[in-house]
Point group: C2
Chain length 203, copies 2
Amino acid sequence: MTTEEQSTPENNILNAAKEIFQKKGMAAARMQEIADEAGINKAMLHYYYRSKELLFEAVFKSAFSMLAPQLNEIMNADTTIFEKIRNFSSNYISFVLKHPYLPNFIIQELNRNPEFVKNLIAEKNFPNISKFKLQVNEKVAEGIIRPITAEQLFINIMSLNIFPFIGAPLLKGFLNFDDEAYKKLMEKRKTEVSDFIINAVKI
Amino acid sequence: MTTEEQSTPENNILNAAKEIFQKKGMAAARMQEIADEAGINKAMLHYYYRSKELLFEAVFKSAFSMLAPQLNEIMNADTTIFEKIRNFSSNYISFVLKHPYLPNFIIQELNRNPEFVKNLIAEKNFPNISKFKLQVNEKVAEGIIRPITAEQLFINIMSLNIFPFIGAPLLKGFLNFDDEAYKKLMEKRKTEVSDFIINAVKI
DNA sequence: ACATTTGTCAACCATTTGGTTAAACTAAAT
DNA sequence: ATTTAGTTTAACCAAATGGTTGACAAATGT
């Protein structure tokens, strides 16, 4: 049994809400539009999820929980740093190519309401960087990688993997690439990003 | 004479609108709030800028025109690639530390309305990558930098400089940093980012 | 001095929007 | 058959919102 999704009204609504919220953001999304997408009456939204705010929270947490495991992987897996970087880059890019609105949705709403992060941290499975930090410091001490703090390296890994999706409209414009060409570029990044990072830190 | 800003009603409104639009985004921003911020009657907004949509466009173009010159610099300056990367990283991070809402605002609204990019491309001063491309290809051919396409390198430079600001709330959460500590991290990135990139490409 | 344009405002308006209600429907339990 | 609990809907509501109007003041030109 895999993580198959039951077809309950709650799930039906949640999926419709995901679609709309992720495309338009909290403020621009309309309850009526979500109801239409779900093929139900608007009152049902309030019956199952009391308010727009609560429905949004459910969507947000569900979206975030799809990303958290991948971040935990890079933090806590029992592999070398280089393997972690390779795995994360490849897996993350594959994942986002399937869910293109997700990263922007998360980032956008966290910027709108930064206190929301505290909420997420309280959840179990919130990624913890401490193990990754030890590992980086160790490898720096051993002279295997150039001196760099774990924080900066972590930010760099996240930046190189996430930004190309969030900034896609802008980057497509600069590069004069259409959707097709840009997607090919992203495919290549599955390996190029990790090569880039590893070249940057390897001595 | 520098680019001093005249205190016309138009400018007054535009600045107030920038403040509100950048903090909340188009959909969540309220015309009344912009009027309050500008210290004028709501009807004045419509007198000077016919509609919310047009006021937003004015704000967006003004915001984008603050970033474009810096991008042109990395594309077209008469310096070596390494100097360009160093200059851009340092200048861009300094700039954004002063205007923290700007990058997220641009990215967020371009994602909301991707066709907007076509509008921007038509403007003069829209950054053009062709010169940078030639330069990268040349240096790769000369064996000075590792084989990489100009597009991928460009995306990497943009990602490493821009994402740490857009993703700040999330990254602060992961790293468990407060605003103060995070800002210090960004200060350090003025040089660390370019070192990282140069290490990644230099042979 | 007078007329005309330009700027400013409080009050108003039509529409949209999140949310509620009361009644109707369904299906299982008694 | 009747009760009961859960589900669904159309109609409704109050508040918020972008936008307008008409009266009035302040410049501006003649």
